[in-house]
Subunit: 344 residues, 2 copies
DNA sequence: TTGTAGGCGTTATCAT
DNA sequence: ATGATAACGCCTACAA
């Protein structure tokens, strides 16, 4: 009798157990105000009848939707090119599931779509909280949400671009430092970075860290921007390799571009890692599938999703969440990085 | 004045425009029963006040949530290894957005989690319809949903495994035929398939088509199953290549495994495509990033998502949807397939 | 054309 | 401990 055809309400349960609807409500919500006997009976009957609370009614009465909102920028290319978002959703969703929360997803297709979706959620109350990802430089969403303190928000971003919103801070800057230092230690003195879109805040953060560290260490460096696709990645690589004194190591902002860079090098007769070292950001399956395996800066994105869910639930509970640091990246040394070529 | 702090209701709008709440409701919903003058005034004031209908209240009154449910099997590995789901969500979400629908996502973590999430949605009415993907052989979800005709469902699967549910049929079987014929025409007479998990219905469909066509054409063939990861893909490839008379062409069920297969071949001194042809399923960025570019069976997954959204909305409107065919795959010939080696 | 009132299913307050 | 009863915000007959 698990599931009934016609929806059974709290009144049906009340009638069947010979008590009032409020008694049923108390019993089902584990609140005091009802004897253990009746509670047991009500629970039993509710189960037999296959009763489940109607979501809309519950949401209306409690002004709680049990939903977390996530806006995705609609660019199938960007979304498909990286496993980041899917991993984040996995971690997020799995943790939310434990607390009877769901994930409400909307695609922001046009220009100000993201902003208007957020406004919509604030006004309609269709979510209890929001997760803000892929923040852009000067993102108006941040300002809007700063004003609307009634809507709990967690930003996943570098703390420097998320205003005073509670933030799960990326470890990007540190990771860039770690990667560059690693190449330095291998003897590289001329490196390049093939970055993602310039307007993304995390591109900017990585860009800055990259030039800062390289400068600090007295390295020559170059940074080219792409749209994350292998085509633009290849192009950037070709440009970098077109000079006789080309960089001896390249760090790519994602794995697809690293893979395409590896291809370009191979096609041009440049041996990796003997003549050129290649590093990928965001270690994915692709990195271990490629030959040679790609050295990568990896991190636990699923774990980040889990953490984000925990923090969001805290925010919903009214707890304060400041600026929480994400787990650091981990350098996974594989087959595409090595000492700088001697004769250069 | 776009967005207000305290939530504004239709009563506020009614008071501000000097009419009753029902007049406001009619005006805002574009229904007759109110003069054009008052309608205009109400709309203006509602906009000024930043009124938006409360989602829960609307859902309760209309028993319509404006939400489509999607259950994802929680296996971050499987989810992350392919861009399929993210692309599907992109297309789905973008189309839903046009009709003011959102996507409600939940992760099925345990064994019967998927089933109980579906039961939950049936009972709580938290979604207006569901999309069923990644159906397994003998999937109990299909049976459950067949019984609950009150919940509109669209299955994305081969029609043979989705019972009598409305289905957006995959073109998998045809695509397998096309791929095998292509290899046959190149002269290959001994081929292999490195497939995904055996319990997935679409693996089974492809397996069957594969053996059928190969038999028809009088080809030798082999089929090994994996869990979609590059590790198991490599392993399968090694096993296939370990025999002196190994297949001259391998079709992989996803791109990561095809890439890892390419790596294994390269590492063993087998030249692709001269000594071995490699084909990938599900053309992704990885295929054009790899060197040489991977020949692949590609399809418009985003388009499938769009189509699915359209069909779901029809179902919600009470229209009948039978068995709609997905757009066919397209063979994208690139650098990893070629004529069968002469001296074998 | 307009306003009044009841219903959607729960939760929560108030008497009893 | 229990049972009416009023929110929650919107929609929609039904009267006026």
């Amino acid at each position: 009798m698990a599931v009934q055809k016609s929806k059974v309400t709290i009144f049906d349960v009340a009638k069947a157990s010979g008590v009032s609807s409020s008694a049923v409500s108390y019993a089902l919500n584990g609140k005091s105000g009802v004897s253990e006997d009746t509670r047991a009976k009500v629970l039993k009957i509710a189960h037999e009848l296959g009763w489940k609370p109607n979501g809309a009614a519950q949401a209306l009465a409690k002004s709680k939707t049990q939903r977390i909102g996530l806006v995705l920028g609609y660019d199938p290319k960007l979304l498909a090119v990286e496993s980041y978002m899917m991993e984040l959703i996995s971690g997020l969703g799995a943790e939310l599931e434990k607390h009877d929360y769901s994930l409400l997803v909307r695609m922001a297709v046009g220009e100000h779509a993201k902003l208007s979706i957020i406004k919509d959620w604030i006004a309609t109350g269709n979510v209890d909280a929001m997760l803000l990802v892929n923040i852009e430089l000067g993102d108006p969403c941040v300002t809007l949400l700063e004003e609307h303190t009634e809507m709990p928000v967690l930003a996943i971003a570098d703390a420097s671009v998320s205003g005073n919103l509670p933030t799960l801070s990326s470890a990007d800057a540190d990771a860039v430092r770690q990667a560059v230092q690693y190449l330095y230690d291998l003897g590289h003195r001329h490196i390049a970075r093939v970055a993602g879109p310039e307007m993304l805040a995390h591109s900017y953060i990585r860009d800055s860290a990259f030039s800062d560290v390289a400068t600090e260490l007295g390295m020559r460096y170059r940074c080219l921007h792409t749209d994350y696709t292998p085509e633009t990645g290849s192009e950037a690589t070709k440009r970098l390799l077109s000079f006789p004194e080309h960089p001896t190591a390249i760090i790519y902002d994602n794995d697809v571009m690293a893979l395409s860079g590896l291809g370009v090098a191979t096609a041009e007769g440049i041996t990796v890692p003997d003549d050129l070292s290649i590093m990928s950001w965001d270690d994915s399956f692709m990195c271990t599938a490629a030959y040679p395996n790609l050295t990568a800066m990896g991190r636990d994105v699923v774990g980040t999703g889990t953490k984000a869910a925990e923090l969001l639930l805290k925010l919903i509970d009214g707890e304060r969440v400041g600026n929480v640091m994400e787990e650091p990246y981990e350098l996974r040394q594989r087959g595409t990085t090595g000492p700088v070529p001697a004769e250069r």
